[in-house]
Symmetry: C2
Subunit: 385 residues, 2 copies
């Protein structure tokens, strides 16, 4: 007999809600089982009476549920505040937005830094490896718990785009529209390589203690900062770096002939590294990068789209890439659009012209914003009347 | 009164020669002075009676004087053994090759791991910052000490290419031919960024001790390995990584759901990192990367080529790039060729078509080898008769 039970209540730690799942006995892809877990989520806007205006926004590697307005951890604007809000492209006057901290994350959802009920200590690396599928399965539990029958849209960029693809193949009947931004069917060899070096940086930090740093009251800060610095370079384009920094010096007229941050780009990266360690858990970073590395739908996605043809045909798809994104380049996004087209799905594909690289999805890109706004509003007319 | 003196003798530490410079009172670009220093060098082939067949090969970031045949440190082939040797493109039957470990290096030339005569301890980070100009100045002392009036050719790739540019502007009267491979007039913002992350990895290692690790009988091995892994990704192209590794698993059929090196690309990078720390000094690595970052001839080179027009016109130039090299892309190499052309210098430019990235200069690239061989042999006919 299953005693499955979910309760939803305000979080004690963050200004958001927590769904507490009990006796769910959920099997992860790794074969491990999660019996009890909690999911932190934040909503924006108002749900309509038909519950037909719900948009799930899936966050990227280091994102969280605080999509817009104030992020209580950084005390800055949420990561997609340029995109989501009143009168913004994803308009909270019209839509009810749900941001969910992914499984394995570090902002309230069950993950390595949360207390393991079996030991009363943080899970740390006892926490099982999670996959994109596991993240989406847990999101689906929450959507069900909220009694939402169908999502108006599921939207995600980067690791969020991977979640969108997983939603498309796992729960097509639950989605009206899907927006896939700057992603791919699989994580490439080069991307795995960059992630691996970041992980090695973390695991080389003597304060890592094989993931058990919290029991030593330290953090592998320096290793995690280096990992973030590496990743940050990949989020930008060479042109963006050149335009933004070039070889400009930082607070000095001539080079120091030493190892200070002479160049602005060095100072910028050091800042990126340092500020990251204040807001993110190293074990979660390891888990998230691994989830992306393991992601590979090159065989599954075309097969399922063909097989599920009828169900998937109901979805309107929008696939977006940025021409200067070398992490998830246009051709990898286009591949997804092509599979959908081949199976007579309704898909739009847009390549945004910008020199800002992968990070463009977070930035002020008018064409990008226009594309999302136009797509959503046109579908709202069809689905919501 | 100057008591300048140079003696040349076999090295006690390596199978090569050492030039010991005394009372040279050499001013470095940083303003520091090097009074006594030694330069480790290795020669291959025989010098002819006119000393007109001498080729100086300038090594890249982690290269050394052991260009071909056995490298006594790695016990593998020298770094350019595919290019240099009997009946090879740079043929030691015809040419007398000189390989010089650069100033600040770690294979016999004065650098941070050598003993500071003032303290009887290793210099470590008391060693002054060196620049590409400093490296070339020291090479020029050696060439003079060997009584070589004119180099048949100076050749270099990557950091070696930077040295070639410095030779061209500083000592044009000493060169007949110059081959510049996969370099640039300046180190780009993105390249500085990658170097900076590598340095941060080294300096974050608790065994670094602000560069004083040798006095603690340790090495910042993990940090240096991470630095090497980062750099190694940039030496390859995405296509090369994809072709070589793709998402292939290492010694297993299914993913491990953990942080072992599941993917071959991870295992490969870990190996690259580990084997590097056995052969290279971390402080030298910091110095070498800094020398590259500081390199910027964007203003000086065109001015000097224009000014020195008559002298530089005597030189035959060959500029080579690889189309998949994203560290020193074709356009940055082409810029150099264009400046030379504009000033009516004799220059050939070749872009080699390969998917192997920056590392192509070390690999079996028949077109590349043919270009070098053809260029050198055609000039030999002119200059050596």
């Amino acid at each position: 007999m299953s005693n499955k039970k979910v309760t939803i209540e305000p979080s004690k730690d963050y200004p958001c809600d927590i769904a507490i799942f009990k006796n769910y006995n959920h099997k992860l892809e790794s074969g491990n089982t999660l019996n009890n877990f909690k999911v932190a989520f934040k909503t924006y806007g108002k749900i309509n009476s038909k519950k037909s205006n719900v948009i799930l926004i899936c966050h990227a590697l280091t994102g969280d549920q605080f999509i817009t307005e104030n992020n209580p951890i950084t005390n800055k604007d949420g990561w997609w505040s340029k995109m989501v809000g009143k009168n913004k492209p994803i308009d909270t006057n019209k839509f009810f937005i749900i941001g969910i901290n992914v499984l394995g994350g570090c902002i309230g959802t069950t993950g390595p830094k949360e207390i393991n009920p079996d030991t009363n200590k943080p899970f740390n690396l006892d926490f099982p490896t999670v996959t994109i599928k596991d993240m989406v399965d847990v999101q689906k539990y929450l959507i069900d718990a909220l009694n939402i029958d169908k999502l108006f849209a599921v939207i995600g960029s980067s690791m969020g785009a991977m979640q969108v693809l997983q939603w498309i193949i796992a729960f097509p009947e639950k989605i009206c529209n899907a927006i896939h931004i700057a992603g791919a069917l699989k994580h490439s060899s080069q991307n795995i390589a960059f992630h691996e070096v970041g992980r090695q940086a973390v695991m080389s930090d003597p304060n890592w203690f094989k993931g058990d740093y919290s029991n030593h009251n330290v953090k592998p800060e320096r290793g995690l900062a280096v990992a973030r610095m590496i990743a940050h370079i990949t989020y930008l384009s060479e042109d963006a770096l050149h335009r933004k920094f070039g070889r400009k010096l930082q607070s000095r007229d001539i080079i120091s002939f030493g190892f200070d941050a002479d160049f602005q780009v060095e100072s910028y990266l050091r800042h990126q590294g340092k500020s990251f360690v204040n807001r993110f858990d190293a074990n979660s970073y390891l888990l998230m990068t691994r989830a992306m590395d393991y992601f590979d739908l090159t065989e599954k996605f075309p097969k399922i789209i063909e097989f599920n043809n009828t169900i998937n045909k109901h979805i309107n798809y929008l696939v977006i890439s940025f021409d200067s994104d070398w992490l998830f380049p246009t051709n990898e996004n286009l591949e997804i659009a092509k599979i959908l087209i081949k199976n007579n799905c309704k898909v739009s594909f847009i390549e945004i012209n910008t020199d800002k690289g992968h990070d463009s999805f977070l930035l002020n890109e008018p064409e990008f914003h226009k594309a999302i706004k136009g797509f959503l509003n046109s579908k709202l007319d069809i689905n919501d009347k």
